[in-house]
Symmetry: C2
Subunit: 500 residues, 2 copies
Amino acid sequence: MYEDKARTEGSTLKEVFGYLDAHLKLVNSREDVSSPPSPRGFGQGGVLRGVEERLKRLGACTELCVVPFGQVLSSLSVVPVGQVLSSLPVVPAGQVLSSLPVVPAGPVLSSLPVVSVGQTYSHLLLAGLGEDPGKVTVLVHSDVDLQPTNRKDVHSHVDLQSTKRKYDDVSLLPWLHVVEAFQAVKQPLPINLKFLVTAAEGTAWEGVEQCLLTSKKRFLSDVRYSCITLDRSPGTRFPSVIYGLRGLCYFTVEVTGADDPSHSDAHSGVYGGVLYEPMGDLLFLLNCLVDERGKILVPGVLDDVVRGEEPPSRDAEPDVEELRSTLAVSRLAHKEDSRRLLLHLAWLPSLTVHAVEGAWSGPGARTTVPLRVKGHFSVRLVPDQTPDKVCLRFTEYLNKVHRHFRRSPNAIRVELTSSARPWVQDPDDPHLGAAQRAVRTVLGGSPILTRGGGSSKMAAVLQRVTVGSLVALPLDLNMGGLKVLAAYLHEVGQLDTNWH
Amino acid sequence: MYEDKARTEGSTLKEVFGYLDAHLKLVNSREDVSSPPSPRGFGQGGVLRGVEERLKRLGACTELCVVPFGQVLSSLSVVPVGQVLSSLPVVPAGQVLSSLPVVPAGPVLSSLPVVSVGQTYSHLLLAGLGEDPGKVTVLVHSDVDLQPTNRKDVHSHVDLQSTKRKYDDVSLLPWLHVVEAFQAVKQPLPINLKFLVTAAEGTAWEGVEQCLLTSKKRFLSDVRYSCITLDRSPGTRFPSVIYGLRGLCYFTVEVTGADDPSHSDAHSGVYGGVLYEPMGDLLFLLNCLVDERGKILVPGVLDDVVRGEEPPSRDAEPDVEELRSTLAVSRLAHKEDSRRLLLHLAWLPSLTVHAVEGAWSGPGARTTVPLRVKGHFSVRLVPDQTPDKVCLRFTEYLNKVHRHFRRSPNAIRVELTSSARPWVQDPDDPHLGAAQRAVRTVLGGSPILTRGGGSSKMAAVLQRVTVGSLVALPLDLNMGGLKVLAAYLHEVGQLDTNWH
């Protein structure tokens, strides 16, 4: 820690670090990004209003936007961006944050009208802290997850304090604490900071992209650097800075035996043997997707995977022992060769079948023949693969397999329910160097650059709608994560602002 | 209806039928076999005590037995059969039922101690009505299902009155009403009647069989004919009498990726591509069980299926149109050839995959890699197949496929969680003729003899533990089902009693 003391000596960072060290316990006892905690029932609007209040107390200008759902891209251009839902006046731009008193936290959310998540729109919160033309502007994207973190089957979220936190706010809360720290020690932020806050559950992502595109000249006009935070992935060498993420296609394939959708399941004693059972068809289809070594069997899907692309030598191979022990599996794939594991973790697509829905799933043993079953699977995409093309390939393939190989009269329906484009950044961008220096300042060592296996809807969107570069910082809040963010802002503030 | 009036003219049946006709509405308004209704919490013991009270009010001698669970067969011979749980004295044998006043129904159950279903024993209710040595003795087996009938996915139960009934009592309630009818018109039952009542949920079937074997000389000593009732199966020609049922092997196969059983699922973004995913293994295994035409692919499983056995001409082929419309499917298997459908409905084994357990099953889309998944499937067996041999074949096959073809390092575990032996009766037994005549008396036409596709644990057990023959009567309560039972008792009473 602090091995590169020269970098903090005499700088504002030292004071900020001191504050963060002193207040870490206080930080950990805070409950929720939208203080006071928003009950789940408040929905997306309510949660983002809570976040908005919190940001206003830090002195930010805010806009809570309404983003229409669905295929409304052409009509969206006439929807005024930043249709302000809250009745609060927009704080005039240009206010210097440090001169604003920090408003004491209080239960203001409950007095706001409750806006539930509708089927026709979602919300998007834009906020800005500072407009100093002598500083670069950094955009932070946070996705405030509306799902409670007590999901047993999702353990990819770092628990700042698992028992008290209501929402998955690891992507936003640390930033708020860092801003508070700069304000507390009465130091100006070294950059202009912008926040783009979404609420994952029920967000109309296409609408968000379109909304940002139309506001490119306004909200995004001065954004030079963007940053997202990720949970630290066990097994991956740390400290590190991420310059790419895989994309995602989430599919469902439904097999329907009964013509009447309301028809209940049959009984295997009475009808076992005379039906084309939908479950059999579904198992056949799902089993045709990927081989035992993880190779996707759908023709054409791998055509666009960049041939010969391999992790550069700077990308450290994973720690096989840690990976195996984190997953508690006896053996990893690809002969446990760390180089090949790195390749399959982020440089190649992967496919996972997540669930079979529609059959009974309670305790006990029921002898039903489900007449309507749905398989869930997703594909992680790598650069040069597009969700559209991958979706087309899978749809064609599954229909062909069903019709020509399975030859079942049951109906199938393939649906792409969610997608994210892959994102990869030029690893030579100076922005990544600044992020690496920030990590080294706090954690020491030589932070590596690497790509991640996960997906972020916004990463590729930000790459398209901004002119600048994006980094993803994997945070381990137990390992000085807040200080990494402070140091990152400091380092980016040192970069050449002459970029036009 | 009543086309064969000659058979009822001047007989006791005419009066019984008249009573049933007059009281049908009353019958339908009754709630539950164990009046007053037993809340689910009473468990098996409580429900069977309710049934016992009801039978006592009809004048029956009863014994509520305790049957140990599990592999205790050798020690069972020393457990005294009929260990009486209830403190009520056993009514002395030989009482003539019609001379007993019918005790008015009342809430007696609530005053009895609550006995919950334990892990170590289950209950079995034995009852007898009459011991006239000049009459044959008929044993009725009823399985009182403890599960509420509002299970959406089980629609094989005839709803006498779906909104009010608590338990699946179609196998017992009609018999009680018929006995009441004989008593109401002051006619003796034409036979001695015995009841063997089990409560499906949590019943120790092996223990029941052993218990019956040891009591063969006592409770079963005079039993000549046995009868079970089944729901009427749509598509099957009706009226009919069933002389055989398929057996059952219910399997689970679990694939475990993580060594630590408490380990939660992985995230496909972080780890997708480097794991031997258990779901992929499970899909592969389940897909190897049966082909698209329903043929079981496990070597040796079909070896014991009686070669060349085909439905005799008396077994009517199903109504293809009714079958297709009941199931609301566009096309049935086996080219919709009614003869082949009949073969596959009851003369050949079938296999159904019921569910995949262990993956998330709620709404939405989660990108987890489940590390522990379990497939549920069952096989319907036909005569000459035994659950033991079938279990061995499946276990060997799945382990071999996993080890030699899938070559996955994940652990698998195949378990036979439930089984029932197939049952088939000599179709020339005069007992079946009596049952056919009873059906014809009420419903007219020429009732066919056929075999059913379902399974009954007790059918094969009764065949082994009694010296007599068994029939299964498919009941349609909307079509004179109660009268069919009354006519059946009458017809069986006419059979030659000289059978020793």
